[in-house]
Symmetry: C2
């Protein structure tokens, strides 16, 4: 019997034209494209385990997944073997064999997301699928002040899309930086895990601080209320990129 | 009779899905989309004069064009009025009234282009339409040395797509900088004008210096030969962006 190996993949993708990572009926998913590429390369279907779901339109530079295979393709060569069959908006960045026990979702200890806002006097044509265009004046100092209130361990029920069911809404945010580069504002958020739409609602709420709808210290009250309706709106998916999954 | 005004537009566009600036039969052009937007906004067709042709797949941040109109729309409002009718990959950055004599092509005294090369261990998924992926090791020091030979006034016949007919192939390059930002290499080229495919052939030739096919001092010989076959290949359109047109 052939040796079964557990292969870990790191994937970059442009989520613009997909319904997200997870397979869905009647919609094109990243998972489907990766599973089809594996089947084309190995001649056998392998179910791929993703580190998380990502929403439609969300991008990734370092999405992680794993799958089991009896194929004789050397582990590091899966990168090139799969890239041959993948469309141009999905690319395998790295492939390697990992321990049989490795599970890309259960073993993840954290994730880093970057959300990009573009300001300025006109909507973008170039790179429009990778940013959220927001044309109001923003008080960046107030936003940076507000960002500090998110750090640490909190019940983030106020920053969770209603209807989502998880055991606990307690999460720990280790980093929330706001960096300015010309007209671009980059929000870098690292945490042990994120609730559904959590990053996008946090950014939406920080933009509300930037436009003076909220004061920085209001963040404490919004978190304590555990009420989604007190936080800002969820900003569009296209500005969001999963940068890295930690193990 | 209504007052005829000459309106100058600055346009940003993502050229990925177009045959270039100029109208063509059976292909979608930027010119066509801008003329359609003007007709929708003013109810009258106006021919638009572009500062240059750009090739299929080439992008622009500061393309300039002008058109004459009797419309009562205030000059600065054409920006918003046309953006309503333009697709998401074309956006008017600025509109203003200019002198009746102004001609966006004939009055141009120079242009700045930026060509972006991406190196690294895998092709890009995110932003793939805005870069040329080149995965060979490059000697950047040699490329910067070679770039100096292009500066000044030369007959650039060796860097002109064969078959193109212009009165003279003499052009002046005022700036040719190579900047590195992570895996990105940006070539910024400013000159009084450029021959057909000239920027792309210059970049292709500089990449040949980077891979040691040519020495920096070979550039002099290639220019002097006035023979297209001595220069490097023309790199793909997608890496090229027209940054600015000077008047």
């Amino acid at each position: 019997m052939a040796l079964i190996r557990n292969i870990k993949l790191v994937i970059e993708y442009d989520g613009t034209n997909y319904c997200g990572w997870q397979r869905q009926h009647n919609a094109k998913s990243i998972q489907q494209k990766v599973e089809e590429a594996i089947e084309s390369a190995t001649k056998v279907f392998s179910k791929v385990i993703g580190s998380s779901r990502t929403d439609a339109g969300v991008h990734a530079k370092g999405f992680v997944c794993n799958f089991f295979t009896e194929s004789s393709i050397p582990s590091r060569n899966f990168k090139e073997a799969l890239n041959v069959f993948l469309p141009e908006d999905i690319v395998i960045v790295e492939s390697k064999e990992v321990d049989k026990e490795f599970h890309s979702r259960f073993n993840s200890i954290g994730k880093k997301y970057v959300y990009t806002v573009l300001t300025g006097s006109h909507r973008p044509a170039i790179g429009r699928n990778y940013v959220y265009y927001f044309n109001k004046n923003l008080n960046i100092g107030q936003m940076k002040e507000a960002a500090k209130y998110f750090l640490g361990t909190h019940d983030f029920s106020s920053f969770k899309k209603s209807g989502s069911s998880v055991k606990t809404s307690v999460r720990t945010i280790k980093e929330l930086n706001i960096d300015i580069d010309g007209n671009y504002i980059k929000f870098s958020i690292t945490g042990d895990g994120f609730l559904y739409n959590m990053v996008r609602i946090i950014v939406g709420t920080l933009l509300d601080v930037g436009t003076n709808r909220f004061n920085p210290e209001d963040i404490n009250k919004i978190i304590s209320s555990k009420d989604r309706s007190n936080a800002g709106k969820s900003v569009p998916a296209c500005g969001l990129t999963l940068e890295k999954v930690f193990y």
